[in-house]
Symmetry: C2
Subunit: 178 residues, 2 copies
């Protein structure tokens, strides 16, 4: 069965990016070198589902495409022609709802999906498509920005799986969704 | 010198109460028995500053008044006559701004102040009157409610002091405000 997995960084006040999508608050606290578990995580998934904003943020970084696995961009406004030609063998666009998208990916043999971006994570949580979440909290309050969480129709109970600190001041918490 | 200290519980999505101020989501995860450090914390302060909402929530619990130290309720709408008579030797109302209030308490010999309630904590953070924060995160997403953080004019950088788990699934993080 296909499952969704979250691995994301936030400020202590729960933002994954500033209002203008910048991540300077995260980068400046990055110790560079400490193992966050990201590589093991990305090596464990068959592909990534992200939102348009996350996709465009990653594109905006320039440089080499960072993902070693296929990416699906959830968007009703993007077309395949909006994907840079060099990425079309690795990136596709889908306008499907979360459950339909996951069913389609399951049919293609995907088992573990990295679910990324605030809106997409919230939609997948609401649809009960997330199995576990690893949240890495940066030691800063930024006051405003794009939230990770918010807006659920009902509570989502979690089991704490692990907690640890990562120098120079990050806290990484891992939860299983009940 | 007088200093402000935060000790508070939130949901993983950063709420300290539901929109109707209820704490059922917190109570239901309470393991009952595990030492959260609250007693040692409350024993370390000279008094408490809280907002009107927090005060009225505590009053609404009924039962014995829970605080062993003096309480100042920050409010521009409450009058001293709104404080139940039985509490008037332990609870006062102040309409002062955070810095003025702290200066006044300093003059009365207070050294460590427990700062409680979302609005009051945010106002004290903004005024740089908080020295450290202990945040205990419950393993649940509630989707909406009264937020702990939000709305700062500029970033507040933190030093991570400690992190630990508290059965049956809480994570307690301690930060010093830089």
């Amino acid at each position: 069965m296909i499952t969704g997995h979250v691995f994301i960084a936030t400020s202590l006040d729960g933002f994954i990016a500033r209002t203008d999508d910048s991540l300077d608050w995260l980068m400046k606290h990055d110790g560079g070198g400490a193992d966050t578990g990201y590589q093991a995580f990305i090596d464990s998934v068959d592909g990534i589902v992200m939102g348009r904003t996350s996709f465009q943020t990653v594109l905006g970084f320039g440089g080499a495409w960072p993902y070693p696995v296929p990416v699906v961009v959830m968007s009703r406004s993007l077309a395949s022609s909006d994907i840079p030609e060099a990425l079309r063998d690795r990136v596709e666009v889908s306008a499907a709802a979360p459950a339909d998208l996951m069913a389609g990916l399951d049919g293609r043999g995907w088992r573990r999906v990295y679910v990324d971006g605030g809106q997409v994570i919230r939609a997948f949580l609401e649809a009960r498509l997330i199995t576990d979440m690893v949240v890495t909290v940066a030691p800063v309050l930024i006051g405003a920005g794009k939230p990770l969480f918010g807006g659920l129709a009902r509570d989502i109970d979690l089991d704490l799986v692990a907690v640890r600190s990562i120098p120079p001041g990050f806290v990484q918490v891992s939860y299983r969704v009940k």
